[in-house]
């Protein structure tokens, strides 16, 4: 029964199994409501914004680093972008939007660079360095806006958040799929991806293998923060505004998704296809819990936590799979 493909993908199968259990659970209790077309269109609209952010953070985790600043940085970047777009409301919208996006991504590059420099050159522990930067970016945003929302996005931009291509494909989902494809290619088919796993597995060993680890860390932080910023750019489209504290609840959610997917902040492990399954599962749970009039939103966190426990227990119990295998692979790579 245990074929090679099964062994190789046992973690993926376990996640898929859990997703099926979750779906069955909500179907059994809520029946048709779970399978309404609108509900699934909603799910497809909802997960891309933090899904993209999660994909960005994934690079940091695989590299063995942590980033706590991504949402604050993304908010600052999008606030600047919206301010620019608002100030140029009378110019042609297309050009203004492109410049606005360029401004946001430019700020993300700077933020990623600072994170990378703090971690790679000053050897500040990643959590400390990026929490400091989180406070800096949030502080700048609040100083700039007095904590208020910033409006003035062209309607062309806000339409992105709720437009369906061909009537069924939400534009945010399309953006997510493009980012996913690029991230998958980077991890699986480039030298960068290979080196990234090596650096994450054992940074000293990678250094001795003639990898410029500092450059890798800085590059990864920039990549992470740019992708996160793209997520924030999707978010401000659904919100039609930017603010210093939008999406702060996504920080823990993204970390949860990654750990659930087996992408541990220890570095060097995890697969991007598992991340996709974990993102969708987490959104199904959130949407599912919202179908119960008497369940408050804390139950979603409860189920998320329980699911995480199940995954952790199952993966350590699986003799040849899960984290044990991942760890073994990590050791072998080192």
């Amino acid at each position: 029964m245990k074929s090679k493909t099964f062994e190789k993908h046992s973690y993926t199968f376990m996640l898929l199994g859990l997703m099926a259990v979750v779906l069955l659970f909500f179907t059994a209790l809520k029946g048709g409501m779970m399978w309404k077309g609108d509900v699934w269109l909603g799910i497809a609209m909802q997960f891309p914004e933090y899904g993209v952010v999660t994909l960005g953070l994934m690079f940091c985790f695989i590299c063995g680093k942590m980033d706590m600043s991504f949402m604050a940085l993304g908010n600052f970047a999008t606030i600047m972008a919206v301010m620019y777009m608002g100030a140029h409301a009378d110019s042609p919208a297309g050009g203004v939007i492109l410049v606005g996006i360029a401004i946001a991504l430019g700020i993300a590059v700077v933020g990623g660079l600072i994170n990378g420099l703090l971690v790679a050159y000053l050897d500040i522990p990643p959590v400390m360095a990026t929490i400091s930067m989180q406070l800096v970016w949030t502080g700048l945003s609040v100083a700039l806006t007095n904590g208020n929302t910033v409006k003035g996005l062209p309607s062309l931009y806000t339409d992105i958040g709720h437009t369906y291509l061909l009537g069924f494909l939400p534009v945010p989902l399309l953006i997510f799929l493009v980012i996913f494809a690029v991230a998958w290619w980077l991890l699986q088919h480039t030298v960068y991806g290979e080196k990234l796993y090596m650096v994450g597995t054992n940074i000293k060993a990678a250094e001795f293998s003639a990898i410029n680890t500092r450059r890798m860390v800085i590059g990864t932080y920039i990549l992470c923060d740019v992708i996160c910023c793209i997520g924030c750019l999707i978010m401000i489209s659904t919100m039609a505004s930017a603010k210093a504290d939008y999406g702060t609840s996504y920080v823990m959610r993204c970390i949860l998704i990654l750990v659930l997917a087996g992408v541990l902040p220890d570095g060097g492990m995890g697969r991007i296809d598992n991340v996709l399954i974990a993102i969708v599962t987490i959104q199904i749970i959130a949407t599912g819990v919202n179908m119960f009039p008497n369940l408050n939103t804390y139950y979603a966190s409860l189920i998320w936590g329980a699911l995480l426990l199940v995954v952790l227990v199952m993966s350590t119990r699986m003799s040849s799979g899960g984290f044990l295998r991942l760890r073994a692979k990590k050791a072998a790579k080192a």
């Binding site: 069955l24 179907t27 059994a28 209790l29 809520k30 029946g31 048709g32 409501m33 399978w35 309404k36 609108d38 509900v39 269109l41 909603g42 609209m45 909802q46 914004e49 933090y50 929302t149 409006k151 806000t158 958040g161 709720h162 978010m235 659904t238 919100m239 039609a240 505004s241 603010k243 504290d245 939008y246 999406g247 702060t248 609840s249 996504y250 959130a286 949407t287 919202n290 179908m291 009039p293 408050n296 939103t297 804390y298 966190s301």
Partner: protein
């Protein structure tokens, strides 16, 4: 394997049929946040309304005040298929899109604390600024015996609504209480800090020995001023009022330093939102003077929000006194 699939499909069919029934509208109420005393109080109000009318209300809010979380919850509810959406946005701007989608689907959308919103059927406010300012003055004047010197206090000179309340209070005094006088300093700011309100009260009493009343606005003003009045031993001779949380001023209400503070009951506003939505659902219209079925909202006012949308306000402020502070739970 086939059997399992067949069984699941059969189960789904049964349950989906069971999901359709009843003639009442499906109503959802989305607060700013859950698990916090102010909003627990609102939840109790909504639940009481639901029990009273025999109509279920789905009460669902985020565990943080993050708009992203709130908008996701609203999206889920709208996609499940609801008829009425009542809510209190953390950021009105962030909710415009989802409210527009909801209204496109025929959902009745009623907001509160969002008088500037466009994509709602109505926004409902407990009071307007002039009404609350006049109410604060009426309360203080009654305590001061309608005579003596007073001063106004705000959190900060840049806080628009608090300054408007204070202006309205002064206008009320000038119109109705000729024996009261505003001292030359007119207005002080305590930076939304009860300690600073205490210091200011001490200093002001030194500067104006005849000062008899402090008309505060923000929720730090009355607690700070009351501490100063108590320490100076002037209970019953000097008075203070502002908007305040009952639990934070309960000691002063009990020992008589404060006679009353002003507040509006957000759970009543929530009930009024539901009543208004039911009225629209039944095809009735809401006009100036309509009765929305709760105390303070028997003859509502309608105002233009400047974006071609009307919002509703009531006379929903009330005096929190030693007799009723416990009923709020916060």
């Amino acid at each position: 394997m086939k059997k399992i699939v067949a069984a699941i499909l059969a189960l789904m069919l049964v349950l989906s049929v069971a999901a359709f029934a009843e003639g009442n509208p499906t109503i959802a109420y989305v607060p700013k946040v859950i698990g916090q005393p102010w909003w627990d109080h609102v939840q109790q109000g909504v639940e009481a309304w639901a029990a009273d009318k025999g109509i279920d209300v789905i009460y669902k809010g985020g565990t943080t005040t993050d708009s992203a979380e709130q908008v996701q919850i609203m999206t889920d509810l709208v996609n499940q298929g609801i008829d009425i959406l009542c809510f209190s946005p953390n950021d009105p701007d962030a909710c415009e899109q989802i409210c527009k989608q909801a209204r496109d689907k025929g959902v009745i959308v009623i907001a509160t604390e969002a008088s500037g919103m466009e994509n709602v059927d109505f926004d409902i406010e407990a009071f307007d600024e002039a009404g609350l300012g006049a109410f604060l003055m009426d309360e203080l004047a009654a305590q001061m015996g309608e005579e003596g010197e007073y001063i106004t206090m705000v959190g900060s000179m840049t806080m628009e609504s608090q300054n408007n309340w204070a202006d309205a209070a002064i206008a009320r005094q000038e119109a109705a209480y000729p024996n009261m006088t505003l001292v030359p300093d007119k207005r002080v700011e305590d930076n939304s800090d009860a300690q600073e309100a205490y210091n200011l009260t001490m200093q002001l009493k030194e500067k104006y020995p005849d000062l008899k009343g402090i008309l505060g606005t923000g929720s730090f003003d009355a607690p700070g001023a009351a501490r100063a009045i108590e320490e100076m031993g002037l209970t019953g001779e000097m008075f203070a009022i502002s908007v305040a949380m009952p639990a934070e001023v309960s000691d002063y209400l009990i020992n008589g330093t404060l006679k009353s503070v002003a507040l509006w009951d957000a759970s009543v506003t929530a009930k009024v939102q539901l009543n208004a939505a039911m009225k629209l659902f039944a095809g009735e219209s809401i006009e100036e003077g309509s009765d929305l079925g709760e105390e303070g909202y028997a003859a509502i006012h309608i105002a233009d929000n400047g974006k071609g949308k009307n919002y509703i306000y009531g006379d929903g402020y009330l005096a929190v006194t030693v007799d009723n502070w416990e009923s709020f739970g916060f």
